[in-house]
């Protein structure tokens, strides 16, 4: 989510533009925190099954790393598609 979501706001006065930009920034911060939280929870749920020790096993650690990478790549991919579809670009098959 970025400023392209604002569409055609160029006609607005400066203070309105600033206000909208501030709104977008706030939403962005909130969404980043929310995504971080949900990512941590997801990878923990997927990868960690037992509580034998306090620290992560080698497998658990690499699983978590892979989980995070995969989810972030996935999220970027969805974001690209989302933006394209929002602008009415035809999707390739």
């Amino acid at each position: 989510m970025d400023k392209s979501m604002l569409g055609d706001l160029d006609g607005l006065p400066e203070e309105d533009k600033l206000r909208m930009a501030a709104m977008v920034d706030q939403l962005q911060i909130r969404d980043s925190l929310r995504m971080y939280n949900s990512l941590v929870e997801r990878c923990f749920t997927d990868c960690v099954d037992t509580f034998r020790r306090k620290t992560l096993d080698k497998q658990e650690e690499s699983c978590v790393r892979r989980c995070a990478e995969k989810f972030l790549k996935h999220s970027m991919r969805v974001g690209m598609r989302f933006a394209e579809l929002n602008q009415g670009v035809a999707t390739p098959d």
């Binding site: 709104m23 892979r66 995969k70 790549k73 969805v78 579809l85 999707t91």
Partner: protein
Amino acid sequence: MAATGQPINMQKEQMFGLAEKEMEYRVDLFNRLTQTCFDKCMEKKHKEAELNMGGWDRLELGICRRLYSKEVVGRGPGPRRRARVAMVATTHQKGRSGQGGLQSEAYSPLST
């Protein structure tokens, strides 16, 4: 001037409120879309960090279907549209054939 200024300000505030709500809605839609598609398309074992080819295609399809169904829900069904939705759904079920799935009708709940 002061009397006419008041309602214009309130209208502006309302517009800002609406714009904020729409942005929140889009963010929420994106988050739900991401979550649903990930849950449905990716394996849980996390064998590797890359998005597998199988997951990739299903992801693309999933996004299109999800957005299209959202659009349909937003408009409400009529008899012809019901037939169209059914047709598109069966097309997708048969596999990745035909169009990309999402008609390029203006997708915007508050189209300005």
